[in-house]
Amino acid sequence: MPQTMSLLDASLDGGFGQPVFEAQAAFRLLMDAMARPGSRHRVDADVAAPGLSGPAQATLALTLCDADTPVWCDDAPPALGAWLAFHTGASLTAAPGEAAFAFVGLGGAVPDDLPLGSQDYPDRSATLVIEVRGFGEGERFRLAGPGIDGSCDLAVDGLPEDFAAFRAANRALFPRGLDVVLTAGREIVALPRSTHFIPSEG
């Protein structure tokens, strides 16, 4: 079978069955996650994208990406470009500096030059989506900031190696900076730029 044909076949699957209602439900979940940093959420949709890590990443792409939001993905297979084009209208970019959404797989590294927004338009920044192994164990953080009643604890297994340094540098840029969404299979935890990380003892 010619390669273009198999790319097309792969791109037809893995989207929402009922795009209008599933996108609405997924958005509310993402909004709740962003409004309450550190809170854990679980996506329902049985979706999958070639090259994205799991249902949570695919759900986020289907809910938020379109022709206005170039997507960067580490080690993106050609099939991902076809999948995004078919389901969302978004195009893949090889340049992180052009990305509105950046997807990083488990064990991947955070690219250096994602858009951080400007002082006058800090919203013109990328959303960074990172797949981790899971929540509830691993590296422990205490979180504080808008959306958090006092503080809350989060444990993450499988963060990128330089994540702590990245977070500190990102918070120092506020109101500029990246908004991070951690995914683990179906699970989602949002860490917007406004969230403070306090390394917790024990």
């Binding site: 006058d120 800090p122 808008p146």
Partner: protein, 282 residues
């Protein structure tokens, strides 16, 4: 010909996605005004097209919608917006604050305390709190960017010099999460304290000026003031003439042409619930 020719919740999916992305940015940068490409809505701007677009982008079939206008559920504006969403989204509607999952409001915050999971959508006519000081958008952007709010403090202090107090009674400016000065929309300053550390999510939509901003739950919202002139809310000497409530916001109602008048609850649902003993009430 019964087939709907519009999408669920009226807006097309691309517009919803654009508004949804703006809402997520707004939540990540509390109090910052995110520009968005507002759409024409089948109602005039004064009717809260910004709030309607935000509501349309978030609402789902399982939501229960309440709409208030100056505290009342039964004005033409509130009734029309409720009917609009019943038709285009098939959602249930209510007048009871405690039953609503999404509350769209023009110029009031309900008296009954909001809870976690509720979304309060404000209709905003003028989103820029610095606009009356500086008409140029490029300049107000820079002032927000630099956190340069000196002019705003000078203006408020001039108020004190002239009136012995800060004269602003509506749209009283607030600082969100210690960073952005924000216009809370023309709610009475009586309502300002309800914004801070609220368990509910607060979204603001300005249709004509194409801005969305947000206050996440449990976020500090501080009314601007001075140490020697602390922020104070309006107080009322008498209780509501209908339900006897104190510590609620009252409207003055003229009874006759001989100067007869009384003060009654602005929040009509809260007042009615208190009188009939139904529903949740504050």
């Amino acid at each position: 010909m019964n087939a709907a020719t519009y999408n669920f919740a009226y807006l097309d999916e691309q517009t919803k996605r654009m508004i949804r992305r703006a809402i997520l940015k707004a939540l990540a940068i509390p109090g910052y005004q995110v520009p968005f490409a507002a759409r024409e809505m089948p109602m005039p701007y004064g009717w809260g097209t910004g709030g309607v677009q935000v509501t349309a982008a978030v609402i789902g079939p399982g939501d229960v919608l309440k709409v208030i206008d100056q505290g009342a559920d039964d004005t033409t504006n509130a009734v029309s917006i409720r009917a609009f969403f019943r038709k285009v989204a098939g959602v249930a509607t209510t007048t009871h604050t405690a039953e609503a999952t999404v509350i769209q409001t023009r110029h009031r915050i309900p008296e009954y305390p909001l809870k976690e999971g509720q979304i309060l959508v404000y209709q905003v006519p003028i989103p820029e709190p610095l606009r009356f000081l500086e008409p140029r958008e490029t300049e107000t952007r820079v002032m927000h960017g630099l956190e340069d709010y000196g002019l705003m403090h000078v203006k408020l202090y001039e108020d004190i010099a002239h009136h012995g107090r800060i004269a602003t009674a509506y749209a009283y400016p607030v600082k969100v999460a210690g960073r952005y000065v924000m216009d809370p929309s023309p709610i009475p300053k009586f309502d300002n304290p309800k914004m801070t550390m609220s368990p509910a999510l607060q979204l603001f939509g300005a249709g004509r000026e194409k801005r969305i901003y947000a206050v996440p739950p449990y976020t500090e919202v501080k009314s601007l003031d001075f140490e020697d002139h602390p922020f104070e809310v309006q107080t009322f000497n008498e209780p509501c003439a209908l339900c006897g409530a104190r510590n609620v916001y009252l409207d003055e109602v003229v009874l006759d042409d001989r100067g007869g008048r009384m003060f009654v609850c602005s929040d009509t649902d809260n007042c009615e619930s208190r009188r009939t003993g139904t529903g949740a009430q504050s």
